[in-house]
């Protein structure tokens, strides 16, 4: 450009001058590609059924991702990662399938798509369940719920499931409860699987008779309020896959 004395379209890359519209279209395509590359996505996700907005707002609040403005748009909270490498916070909503065995709780299925060439380091992970308060009369002892979280094996039978954790919850008032499952999720990711299936049983005790199970207070299954859809919050970091690095070498 300096030799010819005229300003060309792009001094450093030598693209000939373009008319305004096609230059803008080119720039937008470049921006799209750059965003997809940085998000490790080959193409933009194809979203057919979105998550109910009530559940979305609950999740964004849990992610401290920001607040929802009156017009429904979301104002992001800029929380800048101090580390250079890119961390991700993922909220994965459970797909519900009713168990056909009577009395068992619906099984929660979580889907994780893993990027080839990267292994995932799970920094923290927890299952969020909404538990309603007990409507038993206040006179009795404090109502509690004993929640069991199982890792469900493939197939329908309850037999091959592994107890992950048990938690006794005070159900004086309805609230969200978290169940840490970091190690389980790391093992699941290392196994390269796609579907994580959990079973949840919630038995209210201390109200009806000896160990009587009176009612299920965990909001699960088709009857629940969509704003109380169970979800999992996962904080991960991408690691270059050692195998992948070997290939590079």
């Amino acid at each position: 450009a300096t030799t010819t004395g005229t300003t060309s379209g792009c001094a450093s890359c030598g693209i000939p001058p373009m008319e305004k519209d096609s230059e803008q279209r080119l720039l937008v395509e470049i921006a799209k590609q750059q965003i997809l590359n940085k998000l490790h996505l080959k193409e933009r996700p194809n979203i057919t059924s979105t998550v109910p907005s009530a559940a979305l707002i609950t999740a964004l609040r849990k992610l401290h991702a920001g607040r929802v403005r009156p017009d429904g748009t979301i104002e992001l909270e800029m929380k800048i990662n101090d580390t250079k490498d890119q961390g991700y916070e993922i909220v994965s909503f459970a797909e519900m399938d009713e168990m056909d065995t009577t009395g068992a709780q619906p099984r929660l299925t979580f889907q994780f798509l893993q990027e080839q060439g990267h292994s995932i380091q799970v920094l923290q992970s927890a299952l969020w369940l909404y538990v309603r308060s007990s409507d038993a009369p206040n006179s009795g002892p404090r109502p509690t719920v004993t929640a069991h979280i199982y890792l469900s094996g493939p197939g329908e039978s309850c037999s091959n499931r592994t107890l992950l954790l048990e938690k006794i919850l005070d159900v004086q008032k309805s609230n969200w409860y978290t169940f840490p499952i970091t190690r389980t999720l790391q093992a699941f990711m290392d196994g390269g699987q796609r579907l994580l299936q959990l079973e949840v049983t919630c038995a209210e005790t201390g109200v009806a008779g000896e160990n009587g199970v009176s009612q299920n207070l965990c909001e699960l299954g088709k009857t629940m309020d969509m704003a109380h859809q169970p979800f999992m919050v996962v904080q991960v970091r991408l690691r270059e896959d050692p195998k992948h690095i070997l290939q590079k070498r």
Partner: protein
Amino acid sequence: SLQCGDDVTVCCKKDFYVKFKDIQWQDWIIAPEGYHMNYCMGQCPQALAGSPGIASSFHATVFSQLKANGINTAVSSCCVPIQRRPLSMVYFNSQHSIVKTDVPDMIVESCGCT
């Protein structure tokens, strides 16, 4: 850093904002509403090349020493980003998952001559 006007000659920052709604990406990107895909353009004449404070680096120091001693080099100087900030995003990455991440160095804040 200079803001580019319509007629660009010297190294400057060109603001360019893309609304995700305008490119039909608002269905999978929850926040923000758009992306400041600013970029640097323009010439870096000898006088501006390597000027400290504009794109101060060891390269610029060596370059200005050469210049000060009248050693004319074939090195050319380029208009590049010298300050960038991350882009915080919340998006659907499949039917049932939302991801929040800060993508580093995505937004050009200022430009300068190497």
